[in-house]
Symmetry: none
Subunit: 360 residues, 2 copies
DNA sequence: AATTATTTGTGCGTATGTATC
DNA sequence: AGATACATACGCACAAATAAT
């Protein structure tokens, strides 16, 4: 070879391809190679620099030079400055606040957000995951879909874990994985909300919960525990369950039938503020006055729920805070640092949608 | 910059992107750059070597260094199935509906959305644009920022146009560019809203408009035209102007002072529903009843504005429709097809926030 | 057409910084 | 804490290709 660094490069590359050095095996140091090839450090660095660019090796300052795993092209430097966010919704309700919180943090560090909404649907979740993995994202922030149901995408999550792609889950978890999480204490908060209704004097409270995600199941159990601790018996008719695929109309229909079947009901606790808003709107349409005729509580402290009249009694969800925390966590993980999971303790927000039950 | 060659690299790269050096134009020699940056030849060569690897420049021994044609480079390389969306906000108000509309359409074809919000700020707009261009996006959907002000990012838009990156603007335009647009007839709609107030019998109507974007200016002019066509004289005190950087409190303060200075005012027409909601909330806090004491109209037909009490009289904005149309258009453009710009004619939505003025 | 100057390419020695072991 | 190993940076020398004379 005419050109020295080319000769060094060819020799080393052939040795790697021939398997003289295995994957992740440490190569000789620059000093060793200088002696072996009898060239200067510049020439060695020029050669291994090219090999690095061609993904044959990777280098760690102070550590050494190692053979790159060419089967998995997930090279360290090659990731795009994109963070993927997958949530059940992205444009509705409290999700804009969460996503905005993430964005405000990661934007500072030059990262952009790529978003996917699953509509609480595993097929769409899979599609989003595949898209994002293809794009060599730097990290993932995911709200599990249909978290109370078996998930057919666990193979992808195993892959994500194996490749050590920084990933955070929020609102729910996928069992069997050690991803850091940001959760709210849904059970505890719903228990407090229901207790508050008991304290106001209500005894016939019904709950309306979306039960294909874990949050909804937790909230339902929170209500049931409150009933038990209050020593008030519950029956099946105290709980209305629905799936995220059900229309609002059908849910409201169920509520109507339950109310008609039991005039003693004085309060409704709802899966979230969105549902509560629609139910209140419907009750008023029926001629009932909230809270005089019937009390309603929501969950999440949706901004708009404080502007409407009556303002909602609800449990505060740390929307923006959760988003910012998720942003900070994912940046730490990308940086290789350890992070700690966190559970937020929601606080009760008392609004105008609850009062003592009317004497009958 | 801590690292010299990185600083040199960034500077040169930006100058190339900004068009300081045209395609195939000769760059300064290594010696020149050494003098300019006051660094050694090694540092210069390290920087331009990286730029060569990243296909920004090519070098000819003995000849010089030249700007690479990255347009062809982009066309050759397969673009990522990402569509960039840049808007003033992404998480608030009607924007979630728009973004959701885009997503629902492009998701069908396997595209993901990467989002950036500018907070109506040109510096952030530039940052988002550079990020997205780096990521080899397939198309761009942009809501111009501070569209009533001079824009310092027109150089980037010229590049986008020159490189034929499929791009759509919505809500406003940047003059001098031929990007397809999706607009609403803000002037016409605001004229209709104001006419409606005149028909109800109002004669002293004030308008509150955000005037650093074109939509706000158009709406303001719509109101003024309605005044002229009704033959009612206007004065400066009929219009309150603010910037998006102003706080809501300061805007409401201006409204307060105007109302105190002129008790004959019977109606307020607002830049949008968000502002209208806050103003109504404030008026009621002051003890005024809407619409009995004062009528209020908004703009955009924000979903929540129909749920609150009183529901708003407003102009309908085709939020989700606009998003879906933008998604369809960008897919067509990526496909190489021609598309047509579109202007939506907003319709008036009459709510409970307006009535005949009270007899005094 | 040949010569010379310019410009990039290759290569060495040295010094200092920084991350890892 | 010290040694090791990679990263950055400067100065110099000469080769090879191009551009100017």
């Amino acid at each position: 070879m005419e050109v020295k660094y080319e000769a060094v490069k060819q020799t080393l590359r052939n040795e790697i391809i021939d398997g003289k050095y295995k994957i992740n095996e440490k190569l000789p140091t620059e000093s060793d190679l200088m002696k072996r090839f009898n060239v200067s450090r510049y020439t060695i660095r020029r050669a291994v620099g090219d090999l690095e660019n061609e993904h044959y090796i990777y280098r760690i300052q102070g550590g050494g030079m190692f053979v790159q795993d060419w089967q998995r092209d997930w090279a360290k430097d090659e990731k795009n400055k994109i963070i993927g966010v997958i949530s059940t919704h992205m444009a509705d309700y409290i999700f804009p606040s969460i996503i905005s919180g993430i964005d405000s943090v990661v934007n500072e560090k030059g990262y952009s957000l790529i978003v996917g909404n699953t509509l609480n649907n595993h097929a769409r979740e899979r599609q989003s995951l595949l898209n994002m993995l293809d794009l060599q994202i730097a990290g993932l922030i995911i709200e599990p879909s249909e978290s109370a149901m078996p998930n057919p995408n666990l193979d992808l999550y195993r892959q994500i874990q194996e490749y050590q792609i920084p990933t955070i889950l929020f609102h729910s978890t996928y069992p069997g994985f050690s991803f850091p999480t940001l959760l709210t204490n849904d059970l505890g908060a719903e228990k407090e909300l229901t207790k508050y209704l008991f304290e106001l004097g209500h005894r016939n409270i019904i709950g309306v919960f979306q039960i294909n995600d874990q949050q909804g199941v937790d909230r339902m159990n929170g209500m049931i525990q409150a009933y038990q601790e209050a020593g008030v018996p519950t029956t099946d008719s105290n709980v209305i369950m629905y799936q995220s695929s059900d229309s609002f109309d059908s849910v409201i229909n169920k509520v109507d039938m339950t109310l008609n079947g039991n005039p003693a009901i004085t309060a409704i606790t709802c899966y979230n503020d969105q549902l509560a808003t629609y139910i209140i709107s419907h009750l008023e349409h029926r001629g009932l006055i909230v809270p005089d005729d019937i009390s309603v509580v929501g969950f999440d402290n949706y901004e708009m729920a404080q502007i409407i009249s009556p303002s909602l009694t609800t449990a505060n969800h740390p929307k923006r805070q959760l988003g910012e925390d998720a942003g900070k966590m994912i940046l730490h993980m990308i940086n290789g640092d350890e992070v700690e999971s966190k559970t937020y303790e929601p606080t009760i927000v008392t609004g105008e949608s609850t009062s003592h039950p009317k004497e009958k």
